[in-house]
């Protein structure tokens, strides 16, 4: 058969596309369970970290998660857990970053004065720039931060902000837009959780 005829070209292209796409869907199907499991573990880790529970290598994340959140109900806008007798509210958030949505969880004290922990689950920020929001030094700045008057993600400065009373954390150099997004997402999340919590206690 001549290779340059229209029929050959169309048939060949269609068959090739069909074969490659079939192989892809096979690979996708084969790894689906594994990917879902990874996502579950990432989420469980995030909920634990946001509540201030330190994670260790040998820890079984899933069972730890089950014991910290016995009443986990994903339809609710926040979960409650108790650490050393103190109730902590942990809620999932989602907001716009520079390239796409940023999702994660935020842990707050019940008076909404302090952040207990902040953890990112997914983001598509620029690797090495905005993508650094997922690095430990950035997220650790939020731990115990006073946010009674809102949170400011600062521009300029470097090395992180260790003062947890000033309501400020250091932004990421070269990623001002992502830093601004985080500021907005967190402040909005605090308000959202406050009103959701107020609603449940009928205050």
């Amino acid at each position: 058969m001549k290779k340059d005829t229209l029929a050959y070209t169309v048939i060949f292209t269609a068959i090739s596309a069909f074969i490659f796409v079939s192989l892809l869907s096979l690979a996708f199907g084969a790894t689906k369970g594994k990917v879902e499991e990874n996502n579950k573990i990432t989420e469980a880790r995030a909920y634990l970290t946001a509540a201030g529970i330190p994670l260790t290598e040998e820890m079984d994340v899933q069972s730890e998660f089950a014991s910290a959140y016995p009443n986990f109900d994903e339809t609710k806008s926040f979960q409650e857990t108790s650490i050393n007798g103190e109730t902590i509210l942990v809620g999932p958030f989602q907001g716009n970053g520079l390239w796409g949505s940023i999702s994660g969880v935020l842990g707050l004290t019940t008076d909404f004065e302090r952040i207990v922990g902040f953890e990112i689950i997914t983001h598509v920020e620029t690797p090495g720039l905005g993508g650094r929001i997922d690095e430990a030094w950035f997220k650790e700045q939020f731990r115990g931060e006073f946010v009674g008057e809102g949170l400011i993600v600062r521009h300029g400065g470097s090395g992180g902000d260790s003062d947890s009373e000033n309501g400020e954390v250091d932004g990421i150099t070269g990623a001002s837009r992502t830093s601004d997004s985080i500021q907005e997402i967190i402040n909005r999340q605090i308000i959202n959780m406050k009103s959701a919590y107020g609603g449940t206690t009928n205050e």
Binding site: L24, A27, T31, K34, N38, T42, T122, T126, P127, G131
Partner: protein, 203 residues
């Protein structure tokens, strides 16, 4: 066919005809990911893998592919392998997958892969094409790793995320941002060209 001996291909792709500093291909990823050695390594290994398999596939199919749709089929093959890499990373290396984010998908647009498929695999056997893909990837890998080494060291004071410079070291913010990759790439180009010219004069 002395021109196509494996050792000649290796030296060509890694030095005399290096994809980065001679062919100036794959520059956008050079600018983007090289402020962190871990990300750079995984990304370049991904490129190496995709280049090798794309070359084999194109080489095997070269007698059946109609000329008119040659390039679109090469793109299809490249995308196929890139998505495979993405799926594998997501299932087995979720942390890396998270860190690289959109850059895995961007391997598709790396001109080195299509360049080699078009320039080499179209006219050579599958085995030697695989070797050409691997060595092209290697030529890309080492140059990017050199740039990443300087950028991560100066920009963050770390190598592979491990702090190597003292706390007192003032990090160079410019090294974290894209412009520094231009300067460093320019320097690499200059240096490599000067060496090659010197070698030629010496003959």
């Amino acid at each position: 066919m002395n021109d196509d001996s494996p050792s000649k291909i290796l030296i060509d792709n890694v030095w005399h005809n290096n994809p980065i500093f001679i062919q100036i291909l794959g520059i956008c990823s050079t600018l983007a990911v090289t402020n962190n050695m871990t990300n750079t390594l995984i990304m370049t290994l991904g490129v190496m893998f995709v280049a090798a398999f794309t070359n084999v596939t194109v080489s095997l199919l070269k007698n059946f592919i109609p000329r008119k749709v040659r390039m679109i089929l090469q793109t299809l093959i490249i995308s196929f392998y890139v998505i495979i890499v993405d799926i594998l990373l997501r299932a087995y290396l979720p942390e890396i997958s998270k860190a690289l984010g959109p850059y895995v998908g961007l391997i598709i647009t790396n001109c080195i892969i299509m360049g080699r498929a078009e320039a080499f695999a179209q006219s050579h056997g599958p085995l030697i094409s695989a070797w050409d893909g691997i060595t092209s990837g290697l030529g890309y890998l080492w140059v990017l790793m050199v740039i990443a080494f300087v950028r991560e060291l100066m920009g963050f004071g770390t190598l592979f995320g491990i702090a190597v410079l003292p706390e007192s070291f003032t990090t160079w913010t410019i090294m974290v941002m894209a412009p520094s990759a231009f300067f460093l790439l320019g320097s690499v180009l200059w240096f490599a060209k000067a060496m090659i010219l010197k070698q030629e004069r010496g003959k």
